[in-house]
Amino acid sequence: MMLVRVFAVVFSMSLRRSLAFRTNLLFEALASFLGVGAGLAALGIVYTQAETLGGWSLGEAIVLFGTYQIVSGLLWTFIEPNLLWFRGQVVDGALDDILLRPVPSIFLASLGTCAPLGLLHVAGGVAVLVVGLGRLEAAPTAGEAMAWLLMLGIAVAVAWASRVLLASLAFWAPSLQPDVLYSAVWQFGRYPVSMYRQPLRFALTWVIPVSLIGTMPAQALTQGASPIPILAGPAAAILAMLLANIFWRAGLRRYTSATS
């Protein structure tokens, strides 16, 4: 399919370009290592004072942090480079270039470039995950690992959809800049959602589904795969992507008939 080929080309070109700038690569690696280290250290300090956090042990919390880092890294690599400050693209005409091309605009606008250096963050997340798995009482089974992968895919899909939805706001309210806000809220996903008190916990599960990127996939590994997320997850992901598509097209219709 042409879209797959486009995606592959985009990725390989970006990769080649990132590897060409070696000092930048080094700094990104260092920054990622330090960031992950700081997060782990912070977790560690909390656990010197408490046995569990929202019912999660240190090992489980580390698994959660690792999972969160992997999903964040994937978003940072593939989606953020395109949709961060989308409003700016609408204003200065970059969107017109996207519309002129024979590729679905939602694809080019959300996945048209990528920052392969973000994969370093994913690698950091994997390392943290391994550390956490080592501290669990029981190693996860193959089935649980599969469930984790599935939830990971769902997390990325829903995150993509929410990002596109947010960017589409620029079509209706170009003076809003919710990107920084959005990234800030995602930060809450690095801790178990059960830790938060009630109105917040509800918001983080159902309103802005931050629990999807950390807590739910990690739960597959730490507490065993439960049937509801596995069955409902893919449906939710598909629904979210459809919704994002609908909003995008609605926004595009407005853009192509109202702007000057």
Binding site: T23, N24, F27, L30, A31, L34, G35, A38, A41, A42, I45, V46, Y47, T48, Q49, A50, L53, G54, S175, L176, Q177, P178, D179, V180, L181, S183, A184, V185, Q187, F188, Y191, M195, Y196, R197, L200
Partner: protein, 255 residues
Amino acid sequence: MRNVRLLALYVRRSFLEWMGFRSFLFTLVVNQAVAPVLGLAVWSAALPERSGISTYFIALLAVQLTTVSYEYHTVSMGIYQGNLNDNLLRPHPMVIAPLGENLATRAWHLLIGLPIIVIAMAATGVAFDAGNVVLALPALALAAALRFLFTYALALSALWGQQSGGVTELGTILVFLLGGLAAPIPLMPESIRPFGEALPFRAMLGFPAEIATGNLSTQEIVQGYGWQALWLAVFAAVAMVVWTAGVRRYTALGG
């Protein structure tokens, strides 16, 4: 005296400039609020019985907004975009412009952040003791000055090359870990606590919040002020040295 008037001018100008970007400011403030609020959530979940956790983190939020420093974005990016030449031509010390911008930015952060602080206080039922707050105010001023000098010195590393992003990132991580954001210094493990108290990061962030929470003894407060004064002198000197050396290199090499 003239420099003070110039500073006031820059502050006013920056303050008015920001008026056009109120929605952007709002997102910046929320961004700054995330770490203290997260800290609040985590630590009150970890230590539900401990009093003062919520008080500390809400105080920390106020300190965060008062000491916020975006010098990487203003000074470093300014240097990378070639604005330094304009600044070098001006007939006043170069630090006045970024300082003025910094003060105006902080004023706006407080203005917009005040409702958030009030909501957080209402949500957690926290109340501050007026005496503690008064004791904390000088520390707050010192922390604000120190954090500016620290961030400014780091941002000036742009005069040496492209690495100021990494350097600033490192500084941010250190402030997060050791400044009282990741964990209140008094709650740090025994082995690390003395370092946490001595290092400049607490002096620029956590210390005023600790005073406002009311958990410090008089002796500890005095000691803390001592550390603040020391680090303030150190970083004032460092900033001057970095600036002089950096400008010499910049003007010799042409940026």
